[in-house]
Amino acid sequence: MAYPYVHEKEVQIVSRGWGKPRTRTIDGWRELDGYVGFRKALEMGRAAVIEEVKKSGLRGRGGAGFPTGLKWSFMPKEKRGPHYLCCNADESEPGTFKDRELLRWTPHQLVEGCLIGALAIQADHVYIYCRGEFFEANQVLARAVEEAYAAGLAGANILGSGVSIDVTVHQGAGAYICGEETALMSSLEGRRGLPRVKPPFPAAVGAFGRPTTINNVETLCAIPHIVRNGGEWYRQWGTEKSPGTKLFCVSGHVRRPGNYELPLGFPMNELIYDVCGGFEEGRKLKAVIPGGASVPILSADECLACCLDYEGVQKSGSMLGCASVIVMDDRTNIVKQVRRMVEFFAHESCGQCTPCREGTTWLSRILRRIEGGKGTEEDLETLLALGTQMTATTICVLSDSAAVPVASSIQKFRDDYLALIRRGEAVGVV
């Protein structure tokens, strides 16, 4: 595990320097070639930076895996007013804990990535929207930004280049939905964190009504390395369509849960049994959620051949998402796990869209009833139908996300549901 120890199969790019307090300082970061990439970017100019990022094939690490270079190229070339870069540091997806480590160990890596990103999209201002509960990360990050200003790396006329970029750390107030990019912008503007209808897309009308790009912390952390070493260099890891390395947040019933930076395309089996040390004596794999709570659950069989890259996981019937691998052994009550995830979504739904507001709660109530031994087989059909009604009908995909674990678990673990329904007895509802 990258911190406090490293597994031999890891490739440390963004996790280099974790665990060493010195990396948090500007000097410590410079000792790891920090800000070399940014200086290079200033010399290359914005178009060449975007080209290099496109060449690297880097895909957004926030969940959707959208190519970062392409996303940057959507920003208007001609500037008619301020542009903004938002760094999405609101990390709250259940099972995800990679951005927090990036923030608290390598804040300058993020600041550097933000500065390069801002340069590429001609942003005047970077807002790092940091999850409010990350108290330590917020402090560490604020200090790093101060240091960058003091070193002339941020602010007006950076290093005499004529380029000016401000960086502000904004502390969130505790809502998962503010990680959705348009809700993030609303929240940043001081409104309720409500997702907005797209179009217009943020590259046209974003924060404060101006062209804006939103990137995940891990995405931006990879940027300095790509710019410093070149896009081709990044492609030595990963697959053709999913190049580079990725942080895998492994949680659940493995012996060594934690963050592991591995090349994309890494076999899931190897991750579970080798890197994470497998299960306790006598336990075996039951299911894996490979990409955070909003992706379909995989059965043990499906995991066997699964390769952890965007295409590989999709082929196995799920999505890589933000690579939050939740591993469950044969002790797991799947219905309870699904119910807890759905309750999370019900709690976090912003409540604008009727299918999401009503649907998430309804699903969780049915699941609770089934778990309590009062379910019927008809309930399963209702769950599936409600899931369909909640999919592709709302402003953002939180609604779809809540339906996903329900539908996939009924499909793959129907027996777990039926056992509860037929036995008619409650299992500890917590």
Partner: protein
Amino acid sequence: MSESATKPMVTATLDGRTVTVPKGTTILQAAETVGVWVPHYCYHPGLSSPAQCRLCLVEVQGAPKLAPSCVTELQEGQVVHTESPKAKEMRQGVLEFYLANHPLDCPVCDQSGECKLQDYVHAEGRVHGRSREPKRGFGRDDYGRDVLFYGDRCGRCTRCVRFMDEVAKDPRLTVVERGNRSVIDTFFEEGLQGSAFAGNIVDICPVGALVSKDFLHKARAWDLDHSPSVCPNCSQGCNIDLHVRDDVVQRLRPRANLEVNHHWMCDYGRHRYEWMNRQDRIEVPVVGSSADGVALEWGLALRQVADRLANAPQPVMAVASASSSNEDLGALAHLVRALGGGEIVFRSERAEKEIPLPGFPTLTRRYDLVPNRMGAEILGMTRVGKDDGTGGLEGWAAHRGTLLVLGDELRDVGVDFGPSAGLYVYLGSYPTPAASSAHAVLPVTTFAEGEGTFANVEGRVQRFWPGVRPPGLARPAWLVLAALVERLGGAAVPESAEAAFLRVAELAPELQGLTYEAIGTQGALLNEPVALPGSRS
């Protein structure tokens, strides 16, 4: 339409019909132009569209997802299906979600009968709901002023919040909490106190979540007749409907007119309707002084009054009312002219300040708290008295000629009015001590009972229709006055209010060329080049 000349148009196919609309028109609005009504909650033509209720989803051929028609602009060549199985299934789904926590207390809900949830569910909801779960409850809250909130019925469409934000520009409502716990609420205890336009949120609430205290449990929606009318409480002339049951006006509701009041009206005007239901009425013509007056049928009464008017003592002076229609005022002016001419005055109340609706300042509660000051003035009548609507008649006690009164109750003057007049004819709706010296008291209808027009502050002539049956022998003033003119050898009695209106134009060139048809339901400006019939809508 001149629009087509300036704006690029798009043509598309909607439910098999060809539609051509200006570029930028949403699918929902385009559908309305060909009579296709897509269900919607959060969309309201007077507010921004958050596209959050998800009820207006339609299928756009070739698109991966259903589109919210309230914000999706119609594109050239698009093929849209509002009734495809996919669209209907999803709408049915959304409706099912609405019902999951809805109390279904229609039997005691004021909205019942005019509720969009009822309508949509009846039209295309599931026959049986699938929810077996307990419902969430919020209870009832008093928002202040006339507004009660029944949280359990609320569909979280945020129309009310957006009205207060965008139109009243007085953000007193908000959504608190999120997800299924989200609920509309006021800030602190003040609630809606101090808002002059909050009544509108009751109108635009698509369900029974916001209801009027004044109207609470007073009438069922299906028992109400709706008559198009014009608010008589200030010179803005907001377009309204009178909602009437058993000849009693139960409430006023704004009627859309984008050039006068959009979809709104002010609370001041909305809550001043009780006078329309006054039961103390003059119901029969009485001729003779108060001591020996005799109730007569109209034919006899008119003959006797006309006989006396034939030798009307001079000079002739008249008090009119700016709450009377152009038809009534015109007929009065005609009579005065038939008697050889004379001064006509009116008194009217004026407020100390105007109350504009900030998000649509065209709608302002005006200084003049009467609907037809403009009409009275273009007919040459003079405003006298104070801003509380009293005074101005001080010299009249000694008047020895002929006195005519139309509509003014003369409460401030009382029995002292007209004792020395040679002839005093009072036309009004309500008994008043000021009529005690009258030689004839003739019962006329109120504006709620008749048909006619007012001219508002900007010179827009607007029609109103009868909503209530008149009591006893009360008749429209224009009819009574015209009958007197005819008996005095003047023109024959007009056959209708419209004919009476056309005759007013003889006295006021500003009205020339206007017809009831041209005025329609949306009004026409004075001296406006008259548009072709029907094209104003």
